[in-house]
């Protein structure tokens, strides 16, 4: 057991596995996403209330879902960093934090674009949008702390503590923002919770969600590989690898 774990934590081993996985993740992910978006934008039926503007959910929902899962994944990796001191877990956190922030921003942006035809304004202090905004703040905090500490090991552990503190707070933040929302504007209709969404709508949605997750997997592998090359630049296997590729 310990051996396997140790092997899993080895950057060299990961580098090899990632290289094999990445083309699959990229191409399957792209096809799923393309299928989902083309179907969703071109062929899914109009919404009876919002017309065509609802179609932005085929981007908004996958981005928002993934943005939240990325933080959860970072928390798991943070726990691994603190308990087992596995370098690779920290590499993961560093590699995906900016991706998570960009996805959160994308979710906010598409939410705002959606808000214009729906509410007649770019920004509404809606519970979901506000929660996403706070999630963006949490991502910024993680990135800022990571950049501020120069020592690699201390930086890894400090970031892990912060991510874990953040993940304990996320449900509390969500709950309080929802409560705050009902306090200030009772009974606005919720956008993403349709009582029953026809299959022609949710199947393409599911496809684009899956596709985006796979593309995220590809991007995470790519960014982790880069981070590993930077960190392990002095080791022999990296030097050999660079030479082999250079020729």
């Amino acid at each position: 057991m310990w051996q396997i774990f140790h092997k899993l934590g080895s950057p060299k081993w990961f580098f090899g596995i990632a290289s094999k996985l990445m083309p699959w993740l990229l191409w399957v992910g792209l096809s799923l996403l393309a299928a989902g978006i083309v179907w969703g934008l071109g062929f899914a039926p109009k919404d009876y209330l919002q017309g065509n503007s609802y179609r932005i959910i085929f981007i908004h929902v996958p981005a928002a879902l993934l943005a939240q899962s990325v933080y959860m994944m970072m928390a798991v990796a943070g726990l691994v960093t603190l308990v087992w001191r596995m370098k690779l877990a920290d590499v993961f956190v560093r590699a995906v934090a900016p991706v998570g922030a960009i996805l959160t921003f994308l979710a906010l942006f598409t939410g705002a674009v959606w808000g214009k035809p729906t509410w007649g304004t770019w920004w509404i202090w809606d519970a979901r949008l506000t929660s996403m905004l706070i999630l963006l703040f949490l991502y910024f905090g993680v990135m800022a702390l990571g950049a501020a500490i120069s020592d690699e090991k201390s930086s890894a552990r400090a970031v892990a503590v912060l991510v874990l503190v953040g993940v304990v707070n996320i449900p509390i933040i969500k709950y309080s923002v929802e409560w705050w929302n009902t306090l200030h504007q009772p009974a606005t209709f919720k956008l993403t919770e349709k009582p029953s969404m026809p299959a022609e709508m949710w199947v393409p949605l599911l496809l684009s969600v899956l596709g985006l997750y796979l593309i995220f997997g590809w991007l995470a592998c790519l960014r982790m590989q880069t981070e590993i090359l930077v960190r392990e630049g002095r080791t022999r296997w990296v030097k050999e690898l660079v030479q082999a590729r250079g020729n």
Partner: protein, 241 residues
Amino acid sequence: MTTEFTVGLRAPEASVGTATAMKAVFVRDLKTAFRQPQDLLNPLLFFVMVVTLFPLGVSPEVSFLQQAGSGILWVAALLSVLLSLDHLYRHDFDDGTLEQLVLQPQPLFLLVLAKSLAHWVLTGLPLVLLAPVLGVMVHLEGNSVAVLCLTLLIGTPVLSLIGSIGAALTLGLRSAGVLLSLLIIPLYIPVLIFGTGTVMAASEGASVEGQLALMGAFLVLALTLAPFASAAALRISLSNS
């Protein structure tokens, strides 16, 4: 230098208990703070000045202040606590007492808890005591002032406890102050929401026991979890220095 007092080489069996050690940490922080009274006064002055900005910057109308008053006071209190956090470990770090604290045999999270409580007594509690005066100045009505003070009384210890994590994480870093705010403000949002929301509900005549109980739950959660995170963060920061 003589050595006549050197007590043998046995391991100390008459060791000090955790409660005694916590009390010692608490007392030392209070003593140090009272030797420098200006430092105690500054967050309070800041609190008053920030509150003053709102009537001047937005509107002195009674109707506006009545509606926004609880929010203004809560935001000002939050910022005031945030500003004072940088001092929580900084001086101890600079003069080496923090190293000695970490090397005490008692569980570190309990010593950290004692420090957080001292921080609250020195910053949060004075804010709570000052709040009624400012509450009157923003025209909050009788019952609202009482509820506001109650929410501050429950909420400000949470601010100290969570803030301690940020202070420990940013210890010894350049521009730690701004970074600390970036890390901590998102975590303060639930306390702010419930703090102001409770006062608002009270001013509309609703019952607020549920909200107060929930804030109490936040406090219990912060009391049980935050010291562990702070202790871990302190070890990491010291390990790096």
